[in-house]
């Protein structure tokens, strides 16, 4: 039990740099912001008083307590657009890391309300959005690369530790593994995955087609290879990714795998979300080094620019200051 406790402590409570979580926050919220912008034209059809599914039906089907602000106010376009404006502002605040945790809480509440307004429209992409954003709230994702951390130089109220226990990152990592392992488990129950024809049928669903590579997608040999390859890659992403030596090649393979699916198939956002999630398997030290390198090259770019010396110094001081705020 003592050994288990030690492992548990090391695995979940070891303190590591927070730049990785901050980087993930920027990527994740950036993608949700893209989703949000794409969704702006859908207010009338999906969320407003004249939407496809009425609020009355939603209420009848979900009589239990759940996070849906639509149940607390009279449904009107004013309310719907108001909610969307608040959602947009909270996403931008989360992206830049200003009042990060409260902004993420508001964003999650608005997101869940919009999702639960018409839940029959949704797929795994939206489930991922809710699950991961909820975990971001409890993470130290605003502790660095954020306006909060910059303000921390002037106000103790914004000051946060740059090193933080790993537990929230670990939950996200376990969540990613669980997604891959469950999907492989379910696929192994299907005939087409075993006999190798699943990718043939999936790529022939007209609503899901995107671009083609004729030789690959019209050859039964390659279709079978892709079917079994999918199972192998997904299993590796759920299991072998935890082994140190295999981690990096598997992350890269996973990212290429999701990019290929995005190319062949029109599954908006899901593949992009999965690629973003895989970033969490790089170690916090690796991600910190990446963030440092990016900021340093940005500083070099400013130094070489034609801006006035005083402005250059101010920008560089701000970047360095925000970057180097001590624990």
């Amino acid at each position: 039990m003592n050994t288990f406790g030690k492992y548990w402590n090391k695995f979940f409570f070891e303190e590591k740099p927070t730049e990785g979580m901050a980087l993930f926050r920027i990527i994740w919220i950036g993608l949700i912001l893209m989703y949000f912008i794409a969704d702006l034209g859908n207010v009338q059809d999906f969320y407003g008083p004249h939407a496809l599914i009425s609020l009355h039906t939603t209420r009848e089907q979900f009589p239990f307590i759940h996070a849906n602000l639509f149940h607390m106010f009279n449904l009107s376009y004013e309310f719907t657009y108001g909610l969307i404006i608040v959602y947009g502002i909270s996403l931008v605040m989360s992206l830049f890391g200003f009042l990060t945790r409260p902004a993420l809480i508001v964003a999650l509440l608005c997101m869940t309300s919009l999702h639960q307004r018409n839940i029959w429209l949704l797929s795994s992409s939206e489930l991922l959005m809710r699950t991961i954003t909820l975990l971001l709230i409890v993470s130290p994702c605003g502790h660095s690369l954020s306006i909060d951390s910059f303000l921390g130089r002037f106000s103790p109220g914004f000051r946060n530790k740059r090193n933080w226990p790993l537990w929230s990152l670990r939950i996200i990592q376990i969540q990613i593994s669980v997604i891959y392992l469950w999907t492989v488990w379910h696929k192994l129950k299907g005939e087409t995955w075993i006999e190798g024809t699943a990718v043939y049928y999936a790529t022939r669903l007209e609503d899901l087609t995107n671009f083609t590579v004729p030789f690959l997608l019209n050859s039964l040999f390659f279709l079978k290879l892709m079917t079994w390859g999918t199972l192998l890659i997904e299993f590796s992403l759920g299991f072998f990714i935890w082994f140190k030596k295999m981690r990096k090649p598997i992350i890269i393979t996973g990212m290429i795998f999701h990019l290929c699916i995005q190319y062949f198939m029109s599954i908006p956002f899901f593949e992009l979300f999965m690629i973003a999630l895989l970033v969490n398997f790089f170690t916090p030290e690796e991600l910190k080094a990446f963030a440092d390198k990016t900021i340093n090259s940005f500083i070099e770019g400013i130094q070489e620019s034609t801006l006035g010396t005083e402005i250059k110094e101010k920008i560089i001081r701000t970047l360095r200051g925000q970057h180097e705020t001590a624990n």
């Binding site: 939407a51 496809l52 009425s54 537990w167 969540q175 299907g190 995955w193 999936a202 022939r204 279709l223």
Partner: protein, 176 residues
């Protein structure tokens, strides 16, 4: 970090782990339900029940879309076709194509008949602009589908489209 804080966080870690496997445990089982009561409340509140059955156990083999035919008092008819991702550009697919694909697949199923009246009314609203002077009598919801041919008997080339659809009128909404 204090011991109490660690215990509290460990509880949260366990809650999350339990929530990841919830859907895969028997939902109707009384003992499991009792144990899972707090987890279920957490999951229902944010709608976080996770199944992750993407293309599993087998990918669907049906191309499906919906239409609604409105009959007016003067004997004329008009039809609203629900948007289909297969006819959209990439931008529209991202914006709403996938959502219409998902909901069309939900609406067509008999167990979701509680959505049919709303769907009929929605189609009626969509057709109102072109028929504002007419009085609608009824709305017929129609599902259209075709099945992807078997890989062995008739290999379908990628991106080829089958324009032959079976149709079935599955619901009539009497407006008047």
């Amino acid at each position: 970090m204090s011991r109490v804080r660690k215990i509290f966080i460990s509880g949260f870690i366990i809650l999350n782990f339990l929530s990841m496997i919830r859907v895969h445990l028997p939902m109707g089982n009384k003992i499991v339900s009792q144990i899972y009561q707090p987890v279920d409340s957490y999951l229902s509140f944010f709608s976080l029940f996770q199944s992750w059955t993407m293309f599993a156990p087998d990918p669907s083999r049906a191309n499906v879309h919906l239409s609604a035919e409105v009959e007016f008092m003067d004997g004329t008819k008009d039809t609203y076709f629900f948007p289909r991702a297969s006819t959209m550009n990439l931008e529209d697919k991202f914006a709403f194509g996938e959502r219409y694909r998902v909901i069309s697949d939900v609406i067509r199923k008999d167990q979701n008949d509680f959505l049919w009246i709303d769907t009929a009314k929605f189609a009626l609203r969509k057709l109102r602009a072109n028929n504002y002077h007419k009085i609608p009598l009824k709305v017929n919801l129609v599902r259209h589908w075709n099945e992807i041919s078997d890989v062995e008997s008739n290999f379908v080339p990628h991106l080829s489209k089958n324009t032959n659809f079976n149709s079935y009128e599955f619901f009539t909404y009497e407006v008047l």
